[in-house]
């Protein structure tokens, strides 16, 4: 009976760490390749005795660590700086120092996980419950207080007699031939197994059903309409006047509707100062708004040459001495307030746009009344532009 079993290898037990180191060295020197040593605790110096090459596991760790760093950095770069840039705490979109902790964590996470998983899959070949040396006297001894070495039958130099002699020479306390366990056929569709599955499944699902639907029943939340808040334009008994909507607090100013202090005044004696510098953007905005809102009546260059063909009284030129000597605030005042037949443009133009138009009118005025120096300057500019 024993003879028919397949042999896995020949194992020997030793008493001390020194003798197992010696045994491992000798076995290695004799040229055996497929063998392993089992000890109850790590024996220092074993790697050298077995001439094991340095583990390649470090490369797995390194590769995955670097991958983790790259993934974390690229992910944060993409989300935070490219796809959906958000200012957080006044930091730049690509806030490198703030990314380092996350990068570090992801690096360590991937490095450690890959090390553990890599070790189990590529270096341990998964836990194997049916490994032949399980349930042998050999395994029982080496997991208590003995030190063992086992040469496997797959080794090209495997020869039971020679190895037994070698072990005896090395002072082995005992040797043992290890066989592959006999394969027991276990059918999946055994009626007992199927019954067990069905019983387990019905118990688990039954318990879950009773638990979730009877014992711990929570009514589903489906009354989104009825919430304890006031809907707009509806009554509320919360306040004495039964109004749901409240008038704003006195002095409240709506966004973008800063009140104008000279509203309705004919000509303010000390009008507002212009808060906007005539930058390029500001003038471009002014030109656009002027052409849209003012040019139909005042003409493209403020000459008062309306395009309305007499359907509306002609406005005066904007290049009169009066208009030129006005302060910026006076022009602003007319835009906000209107003047006689000219209506107010306050509702079409926001504050910035109004001042931009004022600045643009100043440009038109200066162009119409250019000084010699201005002309000289313009000539220089145009020469530059042509030569470019």
């Amino acid at each position: 009976m024993e003879q028919q079993k397949k042999v896995f290898g020949l194992a020997a037990l030793f008493d001390s760490p020194d003798s197992i180191i010696k045994a491992a060295k000798t076995v290695t020197d004799k040229g055996y390749k497929n063998f392993d040593v089992h000890t109850p605790y790590p024996v220092h110096g074993m790697d050298k005795a077995m001439k094991l090459p340095p583990s390649k596991l470090g490369y797995v760790t390194l590769t995955f660590g670097l991958t983790g760093a790259a993934i974390a950095l690229l992910f944060m770069y993409w989300t935070m700086s490219v796809d959906y840039p958000m200012i957080i705490g006044g930091k730049p979109f690509f806030a490198f120092p703030a990314f380092i902790p996350v990068t570090f964590e992801v690096t360590v996470l991937l490095a450690t996980l890959s090390t553990v998983i890599g070790m189990i899959t590529f270096f341990f070949y998964y836990p194997d419950n049916s490994h032949p040396i399980h349930d042998t006297n050999y395994m029982k001894s080496v997991s208590i207080d003995k030190f063992g070495v086992c040469i496997e039958a797959t080794d090209s130099k495997y020869n039971e007699e020679e190895i037994s002699k070698l072990f005896a020479d090395l002072g082995a306390k005992s040797t043992e031939i290890i066989y592959f366990a006999e394969k027991v056929d276990r059918k999946i569709f055994e009626p007992k197994f199927i019954t067990l599955l069905i019983v387990t499944a019905s118990i688990v699902s039954g318990v879950a059903y009773i638990h979730l639907n009877k014992i711990l029943y929570l009514p589903p939340f489906d009354w989104m309409m009825e919430q304890s808040r006031v809907n707009v334009q509806s009554m509320s008994s919360f306040f004495n006047d039964n109004f749901g909507m409240r008038t704003p607090v006195k002095g409240t100013v709506a966004r973008g509707f800063l009140p104008y202090e000279f509203a309705g005044v004919n000509e303010p004696s000390s009008p507002l100062a212009n808060p906007f510098f005539p930058s390029k953007e500001n003038l471009v905005l002014g030109e656009k708004k002027y052409n849209t809102f003012c040019s139909p009546c005042h003409g493209n260059f403020g000459d008062g040459d309306s395009r309305l063909n007499g359907q509306f009284p002609l406005p005066p030129s904007l290049h009169t001495t009066k208009a030129r000597e006005w302060q910026d605030g006076n022009l602003y005042h007319i835009i906000v307030n209107g003047q006689n037949v000219m209506p107010s443009y306050a509702s079409q133009l926001n504050i910035e746009e109004r001042w931009a138009i004022v600045n643009y009118i100043r440009v038109l005025q200066r162009a119409k009344n250019a000084s010699d120096a201005d002309i000289q300057e313009i000539k220089k500019e145009s020469v530059k532009n042509v030569s470019r």
Partner: protein
Amino acid sequence: MSHDNLNFVKKELPTGFKNLGLILLLVGIVGGTISFFLNAEQAIFNYLLAFMFLMSIGVGALFLISLEYVAGADWSTPLRRVIEFSASVIPYLIVLSIPILLNLHTLFHWSHTDVVATDKVLQGKSPYLNEMFFAIRVVVVFAIWGLFYFLFTKNSKKQDITKDQKLTSINIKLSAVFIPLFAITASVAAIDFMMSLEPHWFSTIFGVYFFSGSVLAALSVITYATVKLREGGYLHPKMVDDHYYSLGALLFAFVNFWGYIAFSQYMLIWYANLPEETFWFLARWEGSWIFISLALIVVHFLVPYSVLLSQPAKMDSKKLKFAALWILFAHVLDLYWLILPTFHGESNFVNTILGFSFIIGAIGLVMLLFYFNAKKTNLVPIGDPKLEKGLNFRL
């Protein structure tokens, strides 16, 4: 056990080593004196740098001695004398601190009572930052270190003769007392000598920052000395490359630790962006200081990190020697970056060059101390009960 220890033959270090140390020390003293007369203010800042260099090596090594005892480490027992010798500068620190105490007004802004009178912040700190209390702290801190250095080494040396195991357990108890004291005193020293150079600034991690740098400096000296001594056959013949591994691993670990702490200090201040904290970094971001700030990342972290990353590198004597010297240099650079930006006086080229003589002198002093200690004491603690286990240490 005793027959193993007979293998150890005590050899004296070559006199050439002593002479080199002496020359370096003299260069340091002469150069330093000239520099002091040329420009006292710049010289005293450079002196403080060299002083902190010596202090960090000494106290870092003292910490490593106590660490070996409390942790029950045995791999480092064969080279504990090297660690003890590296700590031997400690008794001299109190003498070396005299030039600093005499020049408090040059170094420390807070020592000027007229300045403090008009400064709300400094007034709040004056119960701690005043000359009297400063001097008391200096004496107390160095006295504590000196006391423990004396006790550790006395017991250790006595054991060479008596082979008494009790001395080890006494040192273990002492270490357990010393480590918490060390945490406090090292922080105090770091805050007093370096952080208070900029008395408006504060960083709660500063003590830890100094700790990481000082252990790193001590480890570099120990590693370099161990490799050199073993190559010269001064250590126990049973020592093998495996003993290097833990030195390499510790160096690597503390390079990481330094990087971690340095970054934490920077990141929190950068993120909170409070003007009372950021100005310290801004001062190190101005002019050419930016290059030193950036170089520190490469020199103090990236280079030693990559050199020491692989396992074989941690046992390779050539790489270890390189890494040790490199890290020691990085530590000087770090101290330079910490201390010198607070020097606002006139500097000139000659004096800047002469400033290096302080560091050269410090290195000479460390070498001389090594030489004379090795003359008096065995380079291996032959009476230590852990020695044999330590010698048999294998990976």
